[in-house]
């Protein structure tokens, strides 16, 4: 643990936390620049590895920031980086939630909530579409996703079992048909 490192982590990450609009993806480019070119915490290859882990592991994808902190200063670095990325914006949202509750019976609030619902539905649809566009495995990813959806919705399968099955299918198909 060292104070200069901790304060450097805070100075790099706290400003980034305020520009994470629409999920963590918006800050990745700058995070890479800071970690690789500016501060030389890791090589570009190491950064890509951490990125892949943060996508694949459970939890918010933004735990990438925590992994960078871990790389920089061990457990303390991971904790400092996590607090730096999540606490400032969560505090803002907490204040908004308080204000929201204060006015919960107001007419405008019902209209806001009702009016935002179709916007959110459109955003989720667009998100699904863009995930399909970049999904690895092409048509195979579509088939697995839609079959898993049907099994979840109508056959009441457990989602975790479906994910395990999807992983197994891809691993087997991948070894035979998609040579690395």
């Amino acid at each position: 643990m060292s104070w200069p490192l901790i304060s450097l982590l805070l100075r790099v990450i706290v400003p980034l936390s305020f520009v994470t609009i629409g999920g963590g993806a918006s800050i990745i480019a700058d995070l890479e620049r800071q970690s690789v070119s500016v501060n030389h915490w890791m090589t570009a290859g190491q950064f890509l590895d951490l990125f892949a882990i943060s996508r694949a592991a459970p939890g918010p994808g933004s735990l990438l920031v925590s992994l960078i902190g871990f790389q920089v200063d061990g457990i303390v670095g991971a904790i400092v980086a996590s607090l730096a990325i999540f606490v400032p914006t969560s505090a803002i949202l907490y204040v908004l939630a308080r204000i929201w509750r204060h006015y919960r019976d107001a007419n405008w609030q019902q209209a806001v909530e009702r009016g935002l619902a179709p916007v959110a539905a459109g955003l989720i649809l667009a998100g699904v579409y863009s995930i399909f566009r970049i999904a690895e495995g092409g048509i195979m990813a579509w088939i697995v996703a839609i079959a898993a959806f049907a099994a979840l919705r109508w056959l009441r399968f457990n989602p975790l079992a479906l994910m395990a099955l999807g992983g197994a299918i891809f691993a087997i198909v991948g070894i035979y048909w998609w040579p690395a």
């Binding site: 994470t20 609009i21 925590s66 939630a97 009702r114 179709p118 959110a120």
Partner: protein, 184 residues
Amino acid sequence: MEVARPRVSLAQIFIVFTKVSLTSFGGGLSGWMYREFVEARGWFSDAEFLSSLAICQAMPGVNVVNLAVWLGFRLRGTLGAIVGFCAMIVPALIVIIPISIAYGYWGRYPAVHHALAGIAAAALALTLNMVSRVTVSAVRDAVTLAIVAIVFVGIGLLRWSMFELVVVVAPLSVAWAFYRQRAA
């Protein structure tokens, strides 16, 4: 539009948020939340969940962490927000560090890479489940249907900037909801 819900204990909030966080391989976190909070437990209505999601997406911050704070607050006030925040991050942080160490050993095998892509594909089922249900409940008339379509086409197909489109469309949508409310 809050539903009458049973009093939820802080321990329940912690357990369910942790469960969602730790099972969200390859994304789909909000789909999991929808399943656990709306479908399985009835803690929130469709409309309440969707509007919360929209607010949390519009605000700076990581969407799912925002959502944990927002929904936690709605369930149990300040303590609920803190518990939701911690449950979303701390267990996942404890899990991801050993994974990052293990990845150093196993990550070079292509089967690992393929399996992760397959898990992510199957995880999309949760998002599809959420989208199929919430779209139905959000569409109340031709105008709301048009709003869903404009946002989807603009951001999904035409790749317009999300922020600018939402800044224009959201107030119009709210104005329409307000007008309908007056007329009703």
